[in-house]
């Protein structure tokens, strides 16, 4: 579809953020080099421009970080909750103050549109700290008995799809409950965590309470295996999650895992279709589909399939793919060459297995990692693209005739993180929601997040909840 009019470029200024040529590890309140001096580069996925050089933490560095966290734990956990609360409130406020800078930084390092970092990631990050700040002196009221105790040192490993938001989901509840942390950001998106280290300094947070160790999977493995870590929290792939579960087996480490998903977005024939189209687009193309709770399987009732798909294709034709810093961009870059290769391979597999592939006319930039919004029809439950998490802007469309069939198909997956239901009938929504084996069910909306609302999966999407009152349990000795 030809666009009715062209948009002039509207780039957000990069001048608001000052990225240093290199960064060390943040251990015991200081930035230091890795013991063996190793570094790696982080690039902007939309241009492949090198943004900075970051230290690669080895076993020795991880050990130093855990020791710093252990040393800080005694005083931090003994602080009155009200004082811990005030540190977290400070952090929340500084994040609010610096949110534009952090949004631009995140867009540069991750490749997602500025529209998302500015309007979704950053407000949620600040809100998460604000929310858990308030819990720090109210743990007696949280339903875990009187005076619940922290666990100790938390080793936290987070993914690249929402770098700063995942950091907030991990660090805010850990600190509120009196734990100290060693956090490893993803290899491809280390920068916002390092900027967060600076925020901790501005907030006057005692040294060693938050430690940031950058690196690849080896760093993460060393952290979760460290004998003096009391709690392991991981967000990432199901395969790595299982490996971590094996690593902590036989220890006293408390474990929470937030892993993959293959969310079903179920559209009934009485659904408000225009609204559903918006929800489907948000469900699978938000953050280029690199979202664990993405609605990557569209289950549409047969009687409205044609009408819905026509509307959906029309809508996809209006999505704007390109410079993530442009305020009008809907679809940004894929985070890494590796992830792009994985998405490409799975999409090819979809075609090879007989599903019908469609993408709107969409010009891809010549440098960087890009993948056009893609829709597969004639997908069956046996197809790889209906079973495996693609973690990209690829939607698989399946159909159903009865609510029972919709539920059966939605639940026919190893995962159980999210689901969506579109219908005007409240009782139908609630009946279906009751039957879905998923940790978050959105009705007539999708991809809604709030610090007060628990998030997490059933089955192989992991266990434990982040957010809300429930999110405290992961960091308390209960």
């Amino acid at each position: 579809m030809a666009s009715a009019f062209e948009y002039a470029p509207a780039p957000e200024s990069r001048s608001v953020v000052d990225i240093a040529p290199s960064y060390g590890l943040f251990i015991d309140g200081e930035f230091t080099e890795a013991a063996d001096g190793k570094v790696f580069k982080t690039v902007s996925p939309s241009t492949e421009e090198v943004l900075s050089e970051v230290a690669q933490a080895g076993t020795e560095d991880v050990d130093r970080a855990v020791k710093a966290a252990r040393k800080a734990f005694e005083k931090w956990s003994a602080l009155p909750g009200a004082e811990r609360a005030k540190y977290l409130f400070r952090i929340a406020r500084i994040i609010q103050e610096r949110s534009r800078e952090l949004a631009v930084l995140e867009t540069l390092d991750n490749g997602k549109p500025i529209k998302e970092t500015r309007d979704a990631d950053l407000p949620l990050v600040a809100a998460h700290f604000f929310y858990y700040a308030g819990w720090a002196d109210k743990l007696d009221h949280a339903g875990f008995g009187a005076n619940p105790r922290p666990l100790g040192v938390a080793g936290q490993v987070i993914p690249w799809n929402f770098p700063l938001l995942m950091l907030a989901w991990k660090i805010a509840p850990a600190l509120a409950t009196g734990n100290t942390v060693v956090l490893k950001p993803a290899e491809t998106t280390p920068l916002s965590a390092l900027f967060f280290a600076d925020i901790c300094r501005q907030a006057g947070l005692p040294k060693g309470v938050v430690n940031i160790v950058t690196g690849d999977g080896r760093t993460g493995a060393a952290l979760v295996a460290h004998p003096d870590v009391n709690k392991v929290a991981f967000t990432g792939s199901t395969a790595v999650g299982k490996e971590i579960a094996r690593t902590v087996a036989g220890t006293a480490k408390k474990l929470t895992l937030e892993l993959g998903g293959k969310g079903a977005n179920i559209v009934f024939d009485d659904a408000p279709l225009d609204q559903a189209v918006e929800g489907i687009v948000n469900g699978i193309f938000f953050n280029q589909g690199q979202v664990c709770c993405a609605g990557s399987r569209l289950l549409v009732q047969e009687s409205v399939q044609d009408e819905l798909l026509d509307a959906l294709k029309r809508r996809l034709s209006t999505l704007r793919l390109g410079d993530p810093l442009d305020k009008n961009t809907d679809i940004g870059a894929i985070n890494s060459a590796e992830q792009l290769a994985r998405i490409t391979a799975l999409a090819e597999r979809g075609e090879a297995e007989g599903a019908e592939r469609w993408s709107p006319a969409c010009e891809l930039p010549s440098s960087g990692y890009w993948f056009a919004p893609t829709l597969f029809t004639n997908v069956t439950q046996a197809h790889t693209i209906a079973r495996e998490e693609i973690f990209g802007p690829v939607l698989s469309v399946l159909t159903f005739r009865t609510p029972d069939e919709a539920v059966a198909k939605a639940n026919n997956t190893q995962y159980g993180l999210s689901a969506g239901i579109w219908s005007e009938k409240g009782s139908r929504i609630l009946a279906v929601a009751n039957k879905l084996r998923a940790g978050v069910v959105w009705s007539n909306t999708f991809n809604k997040f709030d610090p007060t609302s628990p998030f997490g999966g059933y089955k192989e999407s992991g266990f434990g909840r982040e957010g809300g009152r429930h999110g405290l349990e992961a960091y308390l000795d209960v």
């Binding site: 609360a85 005030k86 604000f130 109210k138 609510p403 009782s427 009946a431 009751n434 007060t452």
Partner: protein
């Protein structure tokens, strides 16, 4: 010392986000613990009390309709603003309550932290007092707290600032709006608090502060048909009984006076006292089997 002549502050009421004098034109002398004159405070009238209720009612829709997160940020903002005026309030509290400088400073610090405590409660009280109810049938059933409405607050007489904030903050944290009668003998910290609230993003009318004779102002508020609840913290035994009787006329929620150490960390009872519980039922239908609602 400089021989510059200082500028006195005219203490005024805080009603509907504005700083009016009493419509009656009356004032009364406020003195410190050694009977030295401090200021002339407005001696509010019944009409001032009624005006304050109108302002509080007008503000209720917006304030109770704001997100809990938003209310939390506003309350936190009050703490931030107060932190910058610690010295002023320490001086006023010292004068008002006859405290040493350091004791007064401790009172002010505790008061600031009290705002932070309640800022954190705005988006948690529903998670502690509400919840899903497992009714024996195919129904979704959820209970949630809601603010009761306009709350009249008879502020503590002795603890003119920490006590005041300890009774006002829980009322507005949950979305109620308040008409507050300041400590009769020591109203100045309360009147100055109005200046802080006015610069803290608290919408006008959410908190309204009156100074004057407690009994004269509390009676029309307790009897007012558009007031939903009353906190009797600062009423003596005889007055409390009289006000509770008047409050029964439209079944106001009443929080009776009780001995409180305002330095202690509060519980949630000052919030729950002014919350209603709303329970919503909705059928869930059933899948497949006969009697399906599809």
């Amino acid at each position: 010392m400089s021989d510059r002549l200082s500028v006195f502050k005219t203490y005024k009421l805080y009603v509907g986000g504005k700083f009016p004098r009493s419509e009656s034109g009356r004032v009364y002398e406020v003195t410190d613990s050694k009977d030295n004159w401090l200021a002339n405070a407005p001696l509010s009238s019944r009409k001032d009390a009624r005006d304050a209720v109108v302002a509080a009612r007008k503000a209720f829709g917006g304030w109770s309709g704001a997100t809990a997160y938003n209310r939390g940020q506003v309350l936190y903002r009050v703490a931030e603003m107060l932190e910058g005026r610690r010295e002023q309030f320490a001086r006023e509290v010292a004068d008002a309550e006859g405290l040493s400088k350091s004791k007064a400073a401790a009172v002010v610090d505790a008061t600031i932290d009290r705002w932070v405590w309640y800022a954190g409660w705005t988006d948690k009280i529903a998670q502690v007092t509400g919840g899903a109810n497992p009714v024996a049938g195919p129904y979704f059933n959820l209970s949630s707290p809601e603010p009761t409405g306009v709350v009249a607050v008879v502020a503590p007489q002795e603890s003119s600032f920490l006590g005041l904030v300890s009774v006002v903050a829980p009322v507005i944290a949950t979305g109620n709006t308040a008409v507050v009668i300041a400590s009769e003998k020591a109203p100045l910290p309360a009147l100055s608090l109005g200046e802080v609230l006015a610069t803290s993003d608290v919408p006008g009318g959410v908190v309204n502060v009156l100074s004057g004779r407690t009994a004269e102002l509390a009676a029309p508020l307790a009897a007012h048909q558009d007031v939903n609840a009353i906190d009797l913290a600062g009423a003596d035994e005889a007055l409390a009984k009289e006000l509770e009787i008047a409050a029964a006329d439209n079944l106001k929620r009443v929080l009776r006076p009780q001995p409180v150490d305002y330095f202690e960390t509060p519980g949630i009872e000052r919030m729950t006292a002014f919350l209603e519980t709303k329970t919503v039922w909705h059928p869930t239908g059933s899948l497949g089997a006969g009697g399906s609602s599809y």
